[in-house]
Symmetry: none
Subunit: 414 residues, 2 copies
Amino acid sequence: MKAEIITIGDELLIGQVIDTNSAWMAEQLNLAGIRVAQITSISDHREHILTTLKEATGRADVILMTGGLGPTRDDITKKTLSEFFNTPLVFNQESFDNVDRIFRMRGYSMTLLNRAQAEVPENCTPLLNVNGTAPGMWFEENGKIYVSMPGVPFEMKALMEEQVLPRLKAFSSGSIVHRTILTQGVGESFLAAKIEAWESALPPYIKLAYLPQPGIVRLRLTASGSDRTMLETEISRQTGELYALIGEHIFGEGEDTLEQVIGRLLKQHEYTLATAESCTGGYIAHLITGIAGSSAYFKGSVVAYSNEIKENTLGVAPRTLEKYGAVSEETVFEMAAGIIRQFGVNCAIAVSGIAGPDGGTAEKPVGTTWICVLTPKGAETRKFTFGEHRGRNIRRAALAALDMLRKQLTQIRE
Amino acid sequence: MKAEIITIGDELLIGQVIDTNSAWMAEQLNLAGIRVAQITSISDHREHILTTLKEATGRADVILMTGGLGPTRDDITKKTLSEFFNTPLVFNQESFDNVDRIFRMRGYSMTLLNRAQAEVPENCTPLLNVNGTAPGMWFEENGKIYVSMPGVPFEMKALMEEQVLPRLKAFSSGSIVHRTILTQGVGESFLAAKIEAWESALPPYIKLAYLPQPGIVRLRLTASGSDRTMLETEISRQTGELYALIGEHIFGEGEDTLEQVIGRLLKQHEYTLATAESCTGGYIAHLITGIAGSSAYFKGSVVAYSNEIKENTLGVAPRTLEKYGAVSEETVFEMAAGIIRQFGVNCAIAVSGIAGPDGGTAEKPVGTTWICVLTPKGAETRKFTFGEHRGRNIRRAALAALDMLRKQLTQIRE
């Protein structure tokens, strides 16, 4: 099965928005064994949409569209689809109830514009969009599948995951087996060198892809063929070899995140955690509390962006700050000990560093970061030297801290 | 002048790489008064490139291509262009000297493969790529312009800025003027209803686009024509009318963020801020500390994920928690007052809510959130009812809180 993606919206053509939807959709389709042949971004004009639809119909079996839906007058995709399929727009009760529910929840009243949102081309199967007012639409015509979704990423993603991908998988043949291994704290070339011999010996039906992000490298194994059981067995065997080679850098698989993994570990040990954050500014707490149910093990955080707070709330000795500075092994240790005392937990992460762009010195350049992790399993302080970019320094410090905690919580059991 | 962008590379079609080149190029072209009509991402296969080139030739005056150049991709774009223009590949001395220079610099020796990199189609003007070994190529054929550039972002950007854009500007007439207005806390359809009459009265050369994100809707005005001064005057005038209609919902323009705007306001007033966060879990502190220099006005945060911390560190009365609950007007007020006292600041944001997915009740469903903002300009507590999605509830609560602070800090000056 061959797919094409069409993203509709002037905002893409003036460069105001980077099209992240297409990459995400392309990845999901590939994971489902559907090859993406082309991605086309076009303006929200009737003629342009019609031409692009016709061209894509000539090349692909599945055509996914995003954007150009919504209550405002630049909403054009639905009208054009109704013209393309030569079918009228009809009122859809389920979609209307959804718009009505969302509006009641937000305390707004329905307008005529919103009522029009509940209309769909007669030949489509409406896909309920619980996150927004514009319904998804599924069309089957002359053996081809067309899907229209809103361009708002979280609405599109929910529709894809819950409705579009399951339906598409029912149509595709052949097996594709994926396994994604997640590593933290080591670079792509370091990993590549460590697994070079293993990678060269992979059978031809297994492909390896390196997917780097700041601080994290994902290694994705993809096996394709007809015998699913064989593919799964071989992927498992190859993954086992990978763990033997680089196991200490692997924190999880698939959609795991470091904050999920440490959440599981803390629950398992019945430990409680708090963070004392300077340069990460609450980002570690934000990552941890992004996980549903984190209140079972996470008690809170003190973001100490000034020395007074480090002293008064965390109990760091004024002399420590004076003698070693806020970015020092001594200070992060006292911050960690302080948050354990203050919040009555038994695990702590403390971070202090120079996120940049200012504040660096010859001795402690921008990117210098001290991290302390205290748990009933041990105590560790480490110095990192990240880069010059503020946002990436914050992210890398947070990931490094979570990974230190993960390693400390698992070391006894290894 | 109408342009199209073609990005070539399988990595885009499997979702391994997000196409950031196109958005950057589109923005640059628009700023240069050249409208981008379509962006197409295709695989690095000869037939696919040829078809896409033919289609684009039928629609656009300028066709910019990136990718498919370089020794590992087998230089497929260059060979295909030479076929498309029916012209041989010829050796180019200047390109060869450039490849040679780069290889000497990196301490490598030239291989036959690299020598082939210095070949270009005979009908092109080679564009020197000082940052890499693949030259850019400029073609003019039947009144159309074709440009091929490498896909490595910094190589492409340097070629665009130094060579392609100056050449294109010599060809183009006409101007495009953009202005983007940022609103918080109100939906697309609410805004559409409020500005309907104004929008209908816009002159035909000004287009309005709604660009929604969770919690934020951007309104983009685009004027195109030949008289730049007239366009700028008219966009200014129309923007003025927009402010008169929906001014209280506008927090900034262009690339502004709420955290930048409140940072500027706090600095201007010489105020200091701290946050007391329950359901937002440090996200507000994270947003604020993402801004370089925020330590001038931001002192820190207490993330109080348990009642004990609300009592012990923030000084919320046990009786308040018992009588009204953690998600209540009384509790957020005491949290805000407590953080002011504890951290010695004069502005505070306090948030307590049910982020979900669990913890909701009939009386306080998931999404229920109380926010308190205290500053020397006033005190306000507000209740919000967001949705059911944890991540978005956190984001919307944070944006709502920052916007409450913005409004409180600006109200006196309105």
